[in-house]
Each structure stands twice: as structure tokens, then as C-alpha cells.
């Protein structure tokens, strides 16, 4: 399962990288969204999957899945949410001010001589 | 007793699974948005409710009734139709074409008459 997940994560990364390399603002933002999904899955995968019951104290259960990575992922998810929201608004504000959503038209090297 | 409950559980779950297959088939095969909504909002809802009932019975036999299931079923029961309604209306208003095989478009007729009335009022 871990190997399957590693491959899935790799593919997600591939998609995300492709999106990030494209020209449109929105596609880039979608790319970062997919990256964060991949990262969260990766953290869980790396700690070993399905090693016991859900980490909620239950009578008679001794083996629990590692709860620590779950807590880390939760933190990461929330942070990713904040950043994504910010990024999204940044994207549309940039579009409003600059008037294009094409990264190639957002160079900013005019001042260099 | 356990035999009986197992039978019910199995029955509901299988029905649910069947209905979800129906949903998928409907979504694939039906020709336009309006017909596909039927598949989604009717059979899917019914399917999930059926599964939930099955599992509810399962947990009941395991050691206790869990109110979350009832709440969940109730929830889906009231939200699914509203969701379906909203979506259909939205797609109609946003200008999605009906399937050419459609027989009737009441809303359009309705609108037409309304517009006619409006133009008449303006004339007078």
C-alpha cells in the first residue's frame, strides 16, 4: 500500500508541477492545491499505513495508528488553507491590477538596464 | 436474531450498492443535464440511505443505537432534493440546452407568455 501511495503521490506531484509551470494564474493556484494534497498524503504514508485502529482511545484495542503524523498533517492542512486563501486573493488582485492572468506578461524586468 | 439482522444488513447494503451502480449508469447513459439529475438526486440518495440504514442496523446489533445515522439520513433526505432543484434551475438559467428529444419546456412557454404580457403592458 505504501508503495502504491508513493506512486500516487508521485503522479500528483507530476500534475502539480505541470500546472505550476503553466502560464495561467489560476492553473498555478490549482497546482499548489494539488501539491498540498500530495504532501499531506505523503506524511501519512511515511509513518506507515493501517497499523492499527484509529487513534481514539477505545477499550480493548492496543494497536493504534501512529497519531503524531495525523496531528502534523492537520496542522499542515490548516496552514495550507490559510496560504491558499491568501494566494487566491493575491491572484485575483494581481489580475485586477495588471490586467492579465498570463505569467509571461508578468515579467517585471523593465527597470533593468 | 443475528441471522435475521445480517440478512437485513446485507439486503440494504446490496440495494444501496445496486442503486449506486444505477446512478453511475444513469449519469453515463442519460442524454442531458436535466435527465441526469434524476439519476443523481433520486437513485443516489436512495442508495446512500439504503446503505446507511443497513450499517445503522449493523451498529445496532454491535452494541448500541447511534443517533448520527438517523441525523445523517434525515439530512440527506432534506438536502438532496433541494440541491437537485437548485442545480437544475441554475443550469436552466445559465442556458444549458435541453436534449433535442425533449418534448416539452414549460418554463420557456411560461416565460414567453410573461414577456408577451410585459410587451403588451408597455404598449398600452
Amino acid at each position: 500500500m505504501e508503495i502504491l501511495m508513493s506512486i500516487v503521490i508521485g503522479i500528483l506531484f507530476m500534475c502539480a508541477t505541470y500546472l505550476i509551470l503553466s502560464k495561467s494564474l489560476l492553473r498555478i493556484i490549482f497546482g499548489t492545491l494539488i501539491i498540498s494534497h500530495a504532501v499531506h498524503l505523503l506524511v501519512l504514508t511515511m509513518s506507515g499505513l493501517k497499523r492499527g485502529a484509529a487513534p481514539i482511545l477505545t477499550d480493548g484495542v492496543t494497536a493504534y495508528t501512529d497519531p503524531l503524523p495525523q496531528a502534523l498533517v492537520l496542522t499542515a492542512i490548516v496552514i495550507a488553507f490559510g496560504v491558499t486563501a491568501f494566494f487566491l486573493v493575491l491572484g485575483f488582485r494581481a489580475y485586477q491590477e495588471i490586467g492579465t492572468d498570463n505569467m509571461d506578461e508578468m515579467r517585471g524586468t523593465e527597470g533593468n538596464d | 436474531m443475528i441471522e435475521m439482522s445480517s440478512f437485513f444488513i446485507a439486503f440494504f447494503v446490496i440495494v444501496g450498492a445496486f442503486l449506486s451502480v444505477v446512478t453511475a449508469l444513469g449519469l453515463i447513459r442519460l442524454p442531458d443535464v436535466y435527465t441526469r439529475t434524476h439519476a443523481a438526486s433520486k437513485s443516489a440518495t436512495l442508495g446512500v440511505m439504503s446503505v446507511l440504514i443497513g450499517i445503522m442496523i449493523f451498529f445496532w446489533t454491535q452494541g448500541g443505537f447511534n443517533s448520527y445515522f438517523v441525523l445523517g439520513i434525515f439530512f440527506i433526505l432534506i438536502t438532496a432534493p433541494v440541491g437537485g432543484h437548485l442545480l437544475t434551475r441554475a443550469s436552466y438559467n445559465s442556458g444549458v440546452k435541453l436534449w433535442e428529444g425533449s418534448v416539452q419546456d414549460d418554463l420557456a412557454m411560461d416565460k414567453q407568455t410573461q414577456e408577451q404580457i410585459a410587451t403588451k403592458n408597455e404598449e398600452t
Binding site: M1, S6, F13, A85, M103 | -
Partner: protein, 801 residues
């Protein structure tokens, strides 16, 4: 901190007061206050003369960074004191001269004198420091203060150019010297010159010895304007003339000479040292004198003459090192080379100082320094003429002035090369006297040209910007004092020999003194009919001939195109470095985000994959894997399919729906991986995010018009695949290399007893790792705040919404 340290720092300390004095006493020329400083110091240092002439030295230490071996150790010996006296003595004269040269009404005197005092202090520091790091510090200070002095008229383009050039070259030398110093420290474990001298025997065998030698010499050569680093010196003439007189006669450029003399005991045992110092010196001597002849600006002639004279002293120092290889002092004629070097150093300071001041007077009174406009000034400026003639005759090496004496000794030194069977000198060494003679001829020519073209010949006063007349007496005092010294030293050279030259030579060649030999300095006018005398006569004869036919052969100077001169190369190099950098930089700093990302991702892939390969990090271990169920495979396919859909989606809403589907699937995976809290959070956040996207779509363009080429897509695809592959490979390897139990068993065991909770994830979040959570909500809060500010506050429109 002793009085000696205070003496070194006095110029810096008094520099602080200058701006206030300038502002406070507008009626009095600030120079009068400044004059006190070098005068006091000169008197102070004179007191050390008896001490050093007896062969004693004084060392005073002030601890600065003792733990790094960096202490401000002041060391006064013959060599240091000689320089200190030159610095303060000539310094006094220059300040006096400047009082009449720079008008207090027009000039920014507070700046000028601050720079000058800083420079003076820095020079004193260089010559009196025993610690190499402190020496380096003052060394860089001389570069910087001369930068300021040269750029004193900062609104002139040429001044800025000259200032920058001198700083670049000298600081370059300084830095390489620092490298040499560090190497010496690594070899010897100390920054103290005296201690290094004591261990010179062991240093010479060290493999770092040669690099250290080269680096230190680089420092000395750049400072002393040795070929090919001499190019900064002519441009430094943009400074006010008093500055030129000071920097280029007695101080700044002599710092390099000082360094070579000072480090001789450490390095001179090496043949490389001898060859390099003498070789570069003699080439510089020739090149400087050769080029001086073609100049038409009076100061430029003097600049090249300075270069050539510095070469002369340098070559003498180099040959003097040979003295170390001969034990018998009686027939050690190489000692004479060192003596000549020290003697000429003093002589050069006197005659070059006076000549610079003379040129300053001409410039001040006529408004030009262009030799083609000048002529016939002798009747109007007789005193200046006298100064000029004494100075330049001394420079040309004519009797009875001091220049003649040292020139004779120089020639003796050069001729002695024939008797040297050291380091292959017998073969190429023949070039030394030949070049020396040729250079002396040119020296004669430009010296004569300097005087004759200015003061004799046809008067053409109509070309001059000002009506010329003799300078005020105040301006003449300093050069007169200097030319008097020229004459006095010429007639009574032995005034200096025991008081100054001998101690200095002893400091340069301490190992000879240690072995019981005494330095005997005796300078005479008349040595009999020696080869030197015939050479001098030859110089005068050929020189006079060349001067007479100057117009005929001057053309050869134009043969070298500007591009191939060293100056041209410097300019081209500098503009190339700027333009080239810009072109290079613009080539990769494209401003395209994608390009940067491509660089970054490519590097990411390349270095990680190669590390994985080199370090054999790849591992795959299938023994400890969780089982795979059929439906999980399908879910994985669904997840992948949704993600791929995002790539191919034509419209933004399709992308969003696909992203949503992927998000929901991820939540389902969380359920499969027994993480209910995660699933809950992921679901809500996914939904809220989707709503946010929908909310923002209103502000985005409906259709993306960014059509991408196939090549572009293909490139992206390759990089993407590689990135994905890298992540997968490392993931598999790290998972397969699990070596330890997780610490989380502690959390599982103690969650109820110690933290009173049942949901481990939540307890970790609020208790075990509550600190994380605290700052995580901080992140959220800042994000919200930022979004609010971003939307509400639009400075571009100049107002808030």
C-alpha cells in the same frame, strides 16, 4: 594605550574636530589648525632618532582582539621612524602649502583636511604597526582616504574615475595581501612581523611560502604602482596638487616600498623574491620613464616619473636582498643597493615634493598645466624657476644635488649584478644595468623637458587662462624648504647616514646585524673614474641629444593603439565586467517565473537523483507493507484521474470540480488510513476552499487565453515527470529504511493518564504539541488580516475602499 599609540591615532582624533573648527572659525583658514598636528608629531618622532640610531627599538602593545592574535602593537625602529618622519615632515610642508593653494572661501576645507588627516594617520599606522592585521587595516585606510582625496572635486567626472580606479587597484592589492597575511599566520601562528622574522628559516620550507610571498608582493606592487599596476597613478593626479605632492612623493606610493623593505627579512632568502622585486622594479623604472617623455601635462610627467622612480627603489631593494647571501661585509657591495634604496627614498621625497609644489604653483598662477601652452615663464616666476631647476636636476641625477649621489649608487648596484652568481642572475641579469641606463636617459630627457618647456622657450601668455605672476610667498615656503634639503643632502649626505639610513638598513637586513656585522654607510661624491661615472656622462650626452631631436622620434608613442594600452585594458575590463554581467544576468534573470521554476526543478531533480545514485540510497523493502485492497486501487485511480483532469480541463469550473473531486478522494483516503480527524478537517476545508474559489472566480477572467506551444508543453511534461519520479523514489527508499520506533508510542500510552483525553490527535494538537497549534492559528489570523488589507487597501488608487 601608550603615548605612541596616541601619536598614531592623533590625526584621526583631530580629524573629528575639523568640521567644527571649519564652521566655527570661518575667518581663519582651517589649515592653520591642521598644521599643528603633523608639526607636533614630527617633533615627537624626532625624539626617537637617537634611540634608533643606537640600534634600539621601541615596542608598545595595546590589546585589541588578543584572542585572535590581533593587537595594536606599535613598533618603532629605523625603518619605521624614517617613514614616520617623512610622513609628518612632508605632511607639515604640504599642509602649509595647501593653506595658500586652497582658498578658504571656495573650497570644502572641512572635507579636505579630514581626508588628509585620516590619510596621515593611516600612513603612520602602516609604518609603525608590527601586527600584520593592524597594518592591513591602516593599509586599506590609506586606499580609502586617498580615494576620498582623489575624488575631492567629486562633481568632476575625471576625479571620480581616478578615485575609483586607484581604490579598485589598491584595494585589490590589499586583499591579496590579506590572503598572504593569513597564509603567513597559518604557517607561523602569529601576525607579528618581528616574530615572523625570527622564524623565517622555518617558513621558507613551508609549501605555503611561495603563495604567501606572491600575494604579499601583489599588495606591495599595486600600492607602489609597479608595472602593470601603475595605471592608477596618473589618473590619481586629478586630486588637488597638495594631495599629489603628499601622496605621490613621500607617502601613499611609498607604502609598497615600505612593505617590501619590511617583509624582506621574512622573504628575502628566497630567490623568487629577488627576481620578482628587482625584475618588476627595473621594468617599472624603464616603462615609467619611457612614458613620462610623451606626456604633455606637467602633473602627468611627474606621475610617470614617480612610477619610474618607485621602480628604481624597488629594484634596489630586490638586489639588496642578495646581500643576505654574502657573509663578508667588506666586499658586500649588495649592501650598497639597500643603502641606495633608503637614500633615494629620502631624496625622492624631497625633490619630487618640491616639483609637485612647483607644478601646483604654475597651475595656480597660470590656470593650466598643459606644456604646449606654457613657456617663457622664467622672467615672471624666477623663484619658481629656481625651485624647478634644482628639483629636476636632482631628479635627472646631475651633480651636485642629492639625486646624483643616489643615482650613482644605483648604477653601482646594477653593475654589481655581473658579479652575482646567484639564482641564474648571470644570464638574464645583464638586462638590469642595460635597462637601468636606458631608463636613466629617459629620466634625463623628461626632467629637462619639464623645466625647459615650462620656463624657457617662447612666451605665449595669450593662450593662458590667467595672467601669470610670481606666487605669494606663503606658497613658496614649502618648496623652498624642500629644495634646500635637496642641496643640503647633496653636499652633506652623511648628515643622514648614521641617523637615518643606517638604522633603516639594519631594520631591512636584520640577519646581517645579528651575525655581528655592522652597516657602514659612507656616501661620497667622488669615487674616481668608475664605470658609473662614464655611464652618467653617457646619460647626459645621449639624453641631451634625444631632447634636442624630440620632435623627430616622438611619433613612436602613437604606435600603440589605445585599446592595447594597459589603461585601455583596464577600462575595457571594467566596462566588460559591468556590461558582461548585465548581459549575462539578463540572460538568465529573464523575469519569467516559469524559467526560474524550471531552473529550480531541474536542479532539484538532478541533484537528488544523482545523490540517490552516488550514495546508493535507493532501497525497497516489501516486508513491512500494508495490504492493498481492490477498492483502494480504484480510489487511487479516481484520485489520479481527477488530478490529471485538472491539467486537461479547458474551463476553470471544470478544473475546480476536478480539484474538488480530488480533495474529496483525499478525505476518503484519510478515512482508509484511520484518520477521522483529518478526514473531517479535509472535508470542511475542501468545501470552504471550493466556495472561496467560486467566490473569487467572479474576479478572474472567464476564459484563459494563454495558449501554450507544444514544445513548451513537452518541456514542462518532462520536468514534471522527473519531479514526480524523484519524489516517488525517495519516498519508497525512506519508507524502506525505517530504523526506529516512532516516539508516538509515548503519546498513545499516556494520552489518558497524563493528558486526560481520548482522541489522541486532538490531545496532541492542544496539549502535547499545543505550541504548533497556537502558531498555526496565528498563521490563519495573519492570512485573514492580509486578505482584508489586500482588498481594502489599494495604495495604487491612493485611497482605501
Amino acid at each position: 594605550m601608550s603615548l605612541l599609540h596616541l601619536a598614531i591615532l592623533l590625526p584621526f582624533l583631530s580629524a573629528v574636530l575639523i568640521p567644527f573648527l571649519f564652521k566655527g572659525f570661518r575667518n581663519i583658514h582651517t589649515g592653520w589648525f591642521v598644521l599643528l598636528v603633523p608639526l607636533v608629531l614630527f617633533i615627537y618622532f624626532i625624539q626617537y632618532l637617537p634611540l634608533t640610531s643606537d640600534g634600539n627599538t621601541v615596542t608598545k602593545t595595546f590589546e585589541w582582539i588578543p584572542s585572535l592574535g590581533i593587537d595594536f602593537t606599535a613598533h618603532v625602529d629605523g625603518l619605521g621612524l624614517l617613514f614616520a618622519l617623512l610622513i609628518t615632515g612632508i605632511g607639515s610642508l604640504v599642509v602649509l602649502y595647501s593653506i595658500y593653494y586652497l582658498a578658504k572661501e571656495k573650497e570644502a576645507l572641512h572635507n579636505f583636511y579630514v581626508y588628509l588627516l585620516m590619510f596621515m594617520g593611516a600612513m603612520l599606522g602602516v609604518v609603525l604597526s608590527d601586527n600584520l592585521i593592524v597594518l592591513y587595516m591602516f593599509w586599506e585606510f590609506t586606499s580609502i582616504s586617498s580615494f576620498l582625496l582623489i575624488g575631492y572635486w567629486y562633481d568632476r567626472e575625471r576625479s571620480r574615475y581616478g578615485a575609483q580606479k586607484s581604490m579598485l587597484i589598491t584595494v585589490f592589492g590589499g586583499l591579496s595581501m590579506l590572503g598572504g597575511i593569513v597564509l603567513l599566520y597559518i604557517m607561523g601562528g602569529t601576525f607579528s612581523i618581528q616574530e615572523l622574522i625570527n622564524m623565517s628559516e622555518s617558513l621558507i620550507t613551508d609549501p605555503l611560502f611561495v603563495p604567501a610571498l606572491l600575494l604579499i608582493l601583489l599588495g606591495a606592487f599595486t600600492k607602489s604602482a609597479q608595472f602593470p599596476f601603475h595605471i592608477w597613478l596618473p589618473d590619481a593626479m586629478e586630486a588637488p596638487t597638495p594631495v599629489s605632492a603628499y601622496l605621490h612623493s613621500a607617502t601613499m606610493v611609498k607604502a609598497g616600498i615600505y612593505l617590501v623593505a619590511r617583509m624582506s627579512p621574512v622573504f628575502a632568502e628566497s630567490g623568487l623574491w629577488l627576481w620578482l622585486v628587482a625584475g618588476f622594479g627595473i621594468i617599472t623604472l624603464f616603462w615609467g620613464s619611457f612614458n613620462a617623455v610623451k606626456q604633455t601635462d606637467l602633473k602627468a610627467i611627474l606621475a610617470y616619473s614617480t612610477i619610474s622612480q618607485l621602480g628604481l627603489i624597488m629594484s634596489l631593494l630586490g638586489l639588496g636582498a642578495a646581500a643576505l647571501h654574502y657573509d663578508q661585509l667588506d666586499d658586500n657591495i649588495y649592501m650598497i643597493a639597500t643603502i641606495a634604496a633608503v637614500f633615494h627614498l629620502i631624496n625622492h621625497a624631497t625633490f619630487k615634493g618640491s616639483l609637485f609644489m612647483m607644478v601646483g604653483i604654475v597651475d595656480h598662477e597660470t590656470g593650466t598645466r598643459d606644456i604646449r601652452k606654457l613657456g617663457g615663464l622664467v622672467n615672471l616666476m624666477p623663484i619658481t624657476f629656481t625651485i624647478a631647476i634644482i628639483g629636476s636636476f636632482s631628479m635627472a641625477g646631475l651633480p651636485p644635488f642629492n639625486g646624483f649621489l643616489s643615482k650613482e649608487m644605483f648604477l653601482t648596484g646594477m653593475l654589481s649584478v655581473f658579479e652575482l652568481d646567484l639564482f641564474n642572475l648571470s644570464t638574464w641579469g645583464v638586462l638590469f644595468p642595460v635597462l637601468a641606463w636606458i631608463a636613466s636617459v629617459f629620466t634625463f630627457v623628461y626632467s629637462i623637458k619639464l623645466v625647459f618647456k615650462t620656463f624657457l622657450g617662447k612666451p605665449q601668455f595669450d593662450k593662458l587662462p590667467k595672467k601669470p605672476h610670481e606666487a605669494p610667498i606663503g606658497m613658496l615656503i614649502s618648496p623652498i624648504i624642500l629644495v634646500s634639503l635637496v642641496i643640503i643632502f647633496g653636499f652633506f649626505p652623511n648628515l643622514l647616514s648614521n641617523s637615518m639610513i643606517k638604522p633603516a638598513v639594519e631594520a631591512i637586513l636584520p640577519s646581517l646585524v645579528d651575525s655581528g656585522q655592522t652597516v657602514d654607510v659612507n656616501i661620497y661624491f667622488w669615487h674616481g673614474f668608475t664605470p658609473e661615472l662614464f655611464m652618467t656622462i653617457g646619460i647626459i650626452a645621449v639624453g641631451a641629444l634625444l631632447y634636442a631631436t624630440l620632435a623627430k622620434w616622438q611619433g613612436i608613442y602613437n604606435r600603440i593603439p589605445e585599446r592595447f594600452t594597459l589603461n585601455g585594458m583596464y577600462d575595457a575590463g571594467l566596462s566588460l565586467s559591468e556590461k558582461g554581467s548585465l548581459r549575462l544576468s539578463n540572460a538568465y534573470m529573464t523575469g519569467f517565473m516559469r524559467t526560474y521554476l524550471v531552473y529550480i526543478f531541474s536542479f532539484f531533480v538532478a541533484i537528488l537523483l544523482s545523490t540517490l545514485l552516488i550514495k546508493d540510497g535507493f532501497a525497497i523493502d516489501t516486508t513491512d507493507l500494508a495490504p492493498i485492497e481492490f477498492y483502494e486501487v480504484i480510489l487511487a485511480i479516481i484520485l489520479v484521474a481527477s488530478a490529471v483532469t485538472v491539467i486537461f480541463a479547458k474551463s476553470r469550473i471544470t478544473s475546480l470540480i476536478a480539484v474538488g473531486a480530488a480533495g474529496y478522494t483525499v478525505a476518503l483516503f484519510f478515512v482508509l488510513f484511520r484518520a477521522p480527524d483529518l478526514a473531517l478537517t479535509q472535508l470542511v476545508i475542501e468545501t470552504v476552499s471550493v466556495s472561496l474559489f467560486l467566490l473569487c472566480f467572479y474576479h478572474f477572467p472567464r476564459i484563459s487565453r494563454n495558449i501554450e506551444r507544444i514544445g513548451f508543453k513537452l518541456g514542462n511534461a518532462v520536468i514534471s515527470v522527473l519531479v514526480g519520479l524523484t519524489i516517488t523514489l525517495i519516498s519508497i527508499s525512506s519508507f524502506s529504511s525505517r530504523s526506529f520506533e516512532s516516539i508516538s508510542q509515548y503519546h498513545i500510552d499516556n494520552v489518558y493518564d497524563l493528558a486526560a483525553g481520548g482522541n489522541m490527535v486532538n490531545v496532541i494538537l492542544v496539549d502535547f504539541r499545543g505550541f504548533d497549534t497556537l502558531f498555526e492559528i496565528a498563521v490563519l489570523a495573519i492570512a485573514a488580516m492580509g486578505i482584508y488589507a489586500m482588498i481594502r487597501y489599494r495604495a495604487a488608487g491612493g485611497k482605501e475602499e
